[in-house]
Amino acid sequence: MSDWSKATRPIPVPNEWTKPFWDAAKQGVLALQRCQSCGHFQHPPYATCVNCISTDLTFEPVQGKGTIYSYTIMYHAGDRRFAAAIPYASIIVELDEAKGALLAGNLLDTPYTEAKVGRRVEVVFQQLNDDITLPQFRLAPDEA
C-alpha cells in the first residue's frame, strides 16, 4: 500500500473554466462539463464543446462510477512532493456516463498492484484544505 501521509499534493487553483468542478467537489459531488446542444460530457473543462463547438456548456452531476482506462506506477522520486509515496499508482478513469471524459486519480485504500485496466472503480472525496476537495477513486465494492 502506498503511504500517502507524507506526500504533499499541489493544491488545484480553480479558474473561470474549472471553478464549478471544484465547487461541486467541495460538496461531495462529481460534476462534469456537459454540452447543452449535443449532450456530450467532457473533461478537462474547455471553452467549447469538443464534439460540436457549441459554447452552451453547463456542469452536471455524474454518479462517479467507471472503469480504469489506464494507469502508471510511479517508482521515480523526481517529483519531490510525492517521493514519500512511491511506488504509487496514478490512474485514468473512464466514467460510465461520460465516455471520453478521462479523469486522473489515485487508487486509494488498496495496494498499487491492484491497478489494472478495466477494473471497476467509484469516486471518493479527499479534502485537501477548506477550499479544495479532490475527487479520488477506490475499487468498487464488487471488485474489492
Binding site: T18, T72, I73, M74
Partner: protein
C-alpha cells in the same frame, strides 16, 4: 504532388560536444554546432543569411536564461553578427521540425539563401523536472495533484493503454533500445558511444514509471546540433552531397490540454502530419528505405510507426522484431542511435540522420541504396512534424 518538392536541400550538418551536464554555457554548444555545420557545407559564416530555432527548455521549474538554459535567435544574432542576415524566425508550436519547415519556406520565397537551424538543449543541475510548487495551475490542476509530475507519466498511461488494448508485452521493447544502442556505437557524436547495452541490461533495469524502465527514457544531456539549408541549385555547388526535401508535414490535430491517457491524440497527430508528407512527396511507407522516428520515450516510436502507416495499429512492437529495424533490415530505424542513445537533443538529430542517410554520408551507419529517407521529428502527439529526404530530385 508538391510543386516545390526537391527545391530545397540540407547541406552541412554540425554537432557540439555532448556532455551529461553543463560544463560550458549552452550558447557555446550552439555556436560550436552552427560553426561545424557551416564548415561542413564549405561556406563562410558571412554567407549565412537566415536563422531559425525552437528554443524551449523542456525541463520545468528552472530559470530561463538566454545563452545558459536556451539559445534563442536573438542570442545567436548577438554572437554571430552576420553581415548579410536577411531573415530569422523562432517557432512555438511544433518543436524544431517547425523551424526547419519555416526555413524551407523562406528559401522557397527567396528571402534568404543559406539558412542555419540549430537545436540547443540544456541539462539543468539538480532534478530535471523541478516541481516544488504548492499549487497546480491551469491544465495541471487535474493531473499534478495525483502525482502526474513530468511528461513521462502522461506518456506512460498512454503506453499502458496501448499494451493492454493490443495484448502486448513491454519486454519486446528491448529490441528497440538494444538495436539503437548498437547504432549509437557507430556514431562518435552520441552520448552513449562506446557504452554497450544488452537485452539483459534492458530487462533488469529499474522501473521509472511503469511501463517505462530506465532505458525507455532518453537521457538528458547538454549539447546542440545544427544544419545548413539552401536551395537545391545552390546546394549542388557546395561540398557535401545534398539531401533533397521531397515533402514535409506537421500535425494538424490537437486535443484539449490536460487530457491524458488518450491514444487518439498520438494517432491523429501522426497520421495528419504524415498524410501531408506522403501526398506532397508522392511516396508511400512501402517506398521508404530508412526511417528516423522520434524517441524521447520509446513508445513514441510505436505510435510513430503506426500513425505514419508503416504498420497497423497494435503491431509496431512485433514489426521491429526479427532484425527488421537493423541497418540491413527491411526498415532500418533510428540508425544514429535515437535520443535514447545520443541524448536528449529533440528531433533535429533525427532530421540530420535522415539527411545524412539520403546523401550517403552516414559512414559506418550508412544503409545500402537509400533513395527515400523518412523522418518523424517529434512525438506525434503535440509537436509532430514529418519529412522525406531523397538522394536525387525526381
Amino acid at each position: 504532388m508538391w510543386e516545390n518538392r526537391c527545391k530545397v536541400a540540407v547541406s552541412g550538418v554540425g554537432f557540439s560536444k555532448i556532455t551529461r551536464s553543463a560544463e560550458v554555457p549552452l550558447a557555446a554548444h550552439a555556436l560550436q554546432a552552427v560553426q561545424a555545420a557551416v564548415e561542413d557545407s564549405g561556406l563562410a559564416m558571412a554567407d549565412i543569411d537566415g536563422l531559425a530555432t525552437y528554443a524551449e527548455l523542456p525541463a520545468t521549474g528552472h530559470a530561463i536564461v538566454d545563452g545558459i538554459s536556451i539559445v534563442s535567435v536573438n542570442c545567436m544574432m548577438a554572437m554571430l553578427k552576420l553581415p548579410n542576415l536577411s531573415w530569422h524566425v523562432q517557432v512555438e508550436t511544433v518543436n524544431i521540425g517547425g523551424a526547419v519547415q519555416q526555413a524551407v519556406n523562406a528559401l522557397l520565397a527567396g528571402v534568404c539563401r543559406y539558412a542555419v537551424v540549430w537545436r540547443a538543449m540544456h541539462n539543468p543541475r539538480g532534478t530535471y523536472q523541478n516541481l516544488p510548487g504548492t499549487y497546480a495551475q491551469g491544465a495541471a490542476q487535474f493531473t499534478a495533484p495525483y502525482g502526474f509530475g513530468g511528461p513521462g507519466q502522461g506518456m506512460a498511461v498512454a503506453y499502458t493503454r496501448w499494451l493492454e488494448r493490443h495484448n502486448q508485452k513491454r519486454e519486446k521493447m528491448a529490441t528497440l533500445a538494444v538495436t539503437q544502442r548498437k547504432n549509437a556505437n557507430k556514431n562518435p557524436h552520441a552520448y552513449f558511444y562506446g557504452t554497450p547495452l544488452t537485452r539483459e541490461d534492458y530487462l533488469n533495469s529499474r522501473m521509472v514509471a511503469y511501463p517505462f524502465c530506465l532505458y525507455d527514457c532518453d537521457i538528458p544531456v547538454q549539447g546542440a546540433v545544427a544544419i545548413v539549408l539552401t536551395t537545391a541549385e545552390r546546394a549542388r555547388d557546395l561540398k557535401p552531397r545534398p539531401a533533397y526535401i521531397a515533402g514535409y508535414g506537421q500535425r494538424l490535430a490537437f486535443e484539449v490540454a490536460g487530457r491524458i491517457g488518450s491514444l487518439s491524440n498520438y494517432m491523429e497527430g501522426g497520421s495528419s502530419s504524415s498524410r501531408l508528407t506522403w501526398e506532397r512527396s508522392g511516396f508511400t511507407p512501402k517506398d521508404v528505405d530508412v526511417a528516423q522516428i522520434y524517441d524521447g520515450f520509446s513508445a513514441s516510436v510505436i505510435y510513430g510507426l503506426e500513425s505514419y502507416g508503416f504498420c497497423k495499429e497494435g503491431e509496431a512492437l512485433d514489426f521491429i522484431q526479427d532484425g527488421r529495424m537493423e541497418l540491413d533490415g527491411e526498415l532500418p530505424l533510428n540508425t544514429f542511435g535515437g535520443s535514447l542513445s545520443t541524448g536528449r537533443i529533440h528531433g533535429l538529430w533525427h532530421i540530420i540522420e535522415g539527411a545524412l542517410q539520403a546523401s550517403g554520408r552516414a559512414e559506418e551507419r550508412q544503409v545500402k541504396d537509400v533513395h527515400v529517407s523518412f523522418v518523424g521529428a517529434s512525438a506525434p502527439i503535440v509537436q509532430g512534424t514529418t519529412f522525406i529526404f531523397v538522394d536525387e530530385p525526381y
